[in-house]
């Protein structure tokens, strides 16, 4: 078992996300994270799915996704792909601790998006490992709420983006 990132280009129609995510559930594949949004073409959406499964299973997932009529293109992103995620973290903070917490968060390029009497909310965009590190660093102060988007990813241009084409029988 290992984590695979799939980029799935689909028709932007009602029910498409349900069809895709339902397929994962039905075939017994575990979704680690899922993000969906519009693309450069308003008639298309891109779903980025992280799935925890064997290499053989990921090939089966890709074939099953292709069987969905509204799925246009599926590819597995390699380690060279640009992978980013957004998180928002609300941390307990008395006014006197604010400077300390903010300066810690700045190390991670986190932005302060809200300050209240007893809490600060940060946003941070980054590679998932980095967000994890930020979360661990802030957790001793008391994390009240946390939300992550799930990662989105794109292949790089140029040499780095070239990867062995997945062997799909056709």
């Amino acid at each position: 078992m290992s984590l695979h990132t799939l980029s799935v280009l689909v028709h932007n129609k009602p029910g498409v996300l349900t069809r895709c995510s339902g397929l994962f559930a039905r075939r017994g594949f575990n979704i680690d994270s899922l993000a969906v949004g519009p693309t450069e073409d308003p008639t298309r959406s891109r779903i980025t799915i992280r799935v925890d499964c064997s290499q053989q299973s990921v090939e089966q997932v890709i074939k099953q996704l292709y069987k969905l009529i509204d799925v246009l293109k599926v590819h597995e992103l390699g380690s060279a792909a640009v992978q980013l995620e957004l998180t928002m973290i609300k941390v307990d903070s008395s006014p006197e601790r604010r400077p300390e917490i903010i300066s810690l968060a700045e190390v991670f390029d986190a932005r302060v998006v809200d300050v209240g009497p007893a809490a600060i909310t940060f946003s941070c965009v980054g590679e998932p490992d980095r967000l994890q590190a930020l979360e661990e660093l802030l957790s001793p102060y008391g994390i009240r709420e946390l939300v992550r988007t799930g990662r989105i990813a794109l292949d790089r241009d140029g040499e780095l983006g070239k990867r062995p084409r997945m062997k799909v029988v056709a």
Binding site: K67, L72, V168, V169
Partner: protein, 582 residues
């Protein structure tokens, strides 16, 4: 094309006409009323068969589709009407049967409000359809129907669902049926890769112990049986046909070893397990064929031909995959084999002799003694109809397996059975659908008593339209296959499987529908009952009261290696054994 202003409801009828549909099966209700109103109001060329249950409509559409090779159509209303179609849709999905299901839906402004008879049928059926549509704009109807029929019948066929809210059926628009079709996300492969086909041919010619493992995909693809015979004959290799493939390679052909799997022949299972090369053709390494997958055909390389790439490597790794429509791939493989064969004796001659010897030594057999044996009834049905074209349907269970073992079928689309889903109740409506599609053929449904009771209300449909399929109830008063498992694997605790022999009285039941019923309970009575039913020339019912304890053998216990079949002790000197079957 000229555009004509009409309602959505009339447009549905025009769409069906444009697709060449001549027969549909359905049952009206509130949300589909506008369509049925248009049905009565406008002139058209489509016959509608009013069923007694929407499940019946769905299975009739399936039987029609499988018997004719055309797309079957079932119509139901919203809510319970639509959910009653779920079983046929799931059945059609697993057996790759092309059907279009049309359901009414509550008006668009009520969707999501838990309105009367509202059910999210698109959501409910999402995992079991090839594709589905909820049509919210009447202008989309022609395109959706065009796509629906195209998707249902092409590639790996399957069920599609069109859900149409009532207000969409009532709205008017300018109708034109699209000539062109463009579905960017749907491009099924047609021609297999030529290099792969050559690799396959070379592997087959080099194999010492090849087995041609033919599945139901060959029927779906309308593969010419002659092309399958060419492939097998090129190297004289044994052929096994799965439950879904029965008839596509003639049972009577000298190379046919018949049914593999849980209740298949020893010869077929041993051949698969000792093979050094499996040529899987439209088959999917289903667990009922392979038994314990890890132990299946351990020494074999695999050539896997299928139109669905997702079948390749799903259960068993294929060394030589060929993705393409089998109607194109099989003849090309035959050509490749014939052009490369070097004239000498086929390398696998000894192997064929060995497999045939197994077949001769271990036929399907039963002890023909009192009480009446179900196998005997099926053999008499086979023999007394040998002079005519018969399309057989079955329910699911013991009778289905005996029918698979003892009927001899030599043409595709003459054996209609629920293989993947194992749907009890399939037999009666499937037979009615088949007879509607093939009125010239004799249609016989070999059913069990448990199965028959699930869909027997469709006898009313049969009677109303004079749809003359013959329904044979193999009555042992049990949910027989479940009972068999209880006897063999659950210490004879016959938990909730006794249906009793006399409930209902099948002859009186048939007569209450105005259908002649015939009963046989002894060997002497069987021929009379069959001849009488065949002479009716309309729908008829035969009740065969059979041995309550007869079991289906041989048997691979679920999850066991398929080479290890359990069987009863056969005494060689016992003259009562009948060694027949195919």
């Amino acid at each position: 094309m000229d555009k004509r202003n009409m309602t959505g409801a009339e447009a549905i009828i025009r769409c069906l006409e444009a697709e060449g549909v001549t027969d549909v099966f359905g049952l009206p209700g509130g949300a589909i009323l506008p369509l049925y109103d248009a049905w009565a109001e406008h002139e058209h060329t489509i016959r509608h068969y009013l069923t007694r249950h929407e499940q019946g409509a769905g299975h009739m559409a399936q039987g029609y589709a499988r018997a004719t090779g055309r797309v079957g159509v079932a119509i139901a209303t919203s809510g319970p009407g639509a959910t009653n179609l779920v079983t046929p849709i799931a059945d059609a999905y697993l057996d790759s049967t092309p059907i279009v299901c049309i359901t009414g839906q509550v008006p668009t402004h009520l969707i999501g409000t838990d309105a009367f008879q509202e059910a999210d049928i698109q959501g409910i059926t999402m995992p079991i359809v090839k594709h589905s549509w909820l049509v919210s704009e009447v202008e989309d109807l022609p395109r959706v129907f065009r796509e629906a029929f195209h998707i249902a019948r092409t590639g790996r066929p399957g069920p599609v669902l069109i859900d149409i809210p009532k207000d969409v059926q009532l709205r008017r628009f300018d109708f034109a049926y699209p000539k062109q079709i463009d579905i960017p996300g749907y491009k099924p492969s047609k021609h297999g890769h030529p290099r792969q086909i050559i690799s396959a041919a070379e592997a087959i010619l080099a194999a010492q112990r090849p087995v041609f493992y033919v599945g139901g995909g060959t029927v779906c693809a309308n593969v010419d049986p002659a092309d399958l015979i060419r492939v097998a004959d090129a190297v004289r290799m044994p052929v096994v046909t799965t439950l879904m493939a029965k008839g596509v390679f003639p049972d009577s052909h000298e190379l046919c070893i018949g049914l593999p799997g849980m209740h298949g022949s020893k010869a077929a299972n041993w051949a698969l397990n000792q093979a050094d090369l499996l040529i899987a053709c439209g088959s999917r390494f289903d667990d009922r064929v392979t038994g314990k997958l890890d132990a299946f055909a351990p020494g074999a390389r695999v050539i896997h031909m299928d139109v669905d790439p997702a079948e390749i490597d799903k259960n068993r790794h294929a060394e030589i995959p060929i993705v393409g429509s089998l109607e194109f791939v099989v003849p090309k493989l035959a050509e490749a084999l014939e052009s490369r064969r070097n004239g000498g004796p086929p390398p696998a001659a000894e192997w064929l002799d060995k497999v045939r010897a197994w077949k001769a030594e271990h036929p399907f057999r039963y002890r023909n003694s009192e009480p009446l044996k179900p196998e005997y009834v099926i053999e008499r049905l086979r023999d007394l109809t040998a002079d005519r074209e018969v399309i057989w349907t079955t329910g699911v269970g013991q009778h289905q397996m005996w029918a698979a073992q003892y009927l001899q079928i030599d043409q595709p689309r003459h054996w209609l059975t629920s293989g993947g889903l194992g749907t009890m109740g399939y037999g009666v409506p499937a037979a009615i659908g088949a007879k509607v599609g093939r009125p010239d053929a004799t249609v016989i449904n070999i059913d069990g008593d448990g199965c028959f009771q699930m869909t027997m209300q469709e006898l009313a449909t049969a009677r109303m339209y004079g749809i003359g399929a013959i329904h044979v109830v193999i009555n042992n008063g049990w949910l027989g296959m479940v009972r068999q498992w209880q006897e063999l694997f659950h210490a004879e605790r016959f938990s909730e499987t006794d249906l009793t022999m006399d409930l209902p009285d099948y002859v009186k039941l048939a007569e209450s529908f105005g259908i002649p019923g015939f009963r046989c309970a002894t060997v002497d009575e069987v021929d009379d009952a069959i001849r009488s039913a065949l002479a009716v020339g309309g729908p008829a019912v035969i009740e065969a009261r059979v041995d309550r304890e007869e079991k289906v053998y041989p048997m691979v216990p679920a999850g066991a290696p398929s080479a290890e079949m359990i069987d009863v002790e056969w005494a060689d000197d016992d003259n009562a054994w009948v060694e027949e079957g195919v």
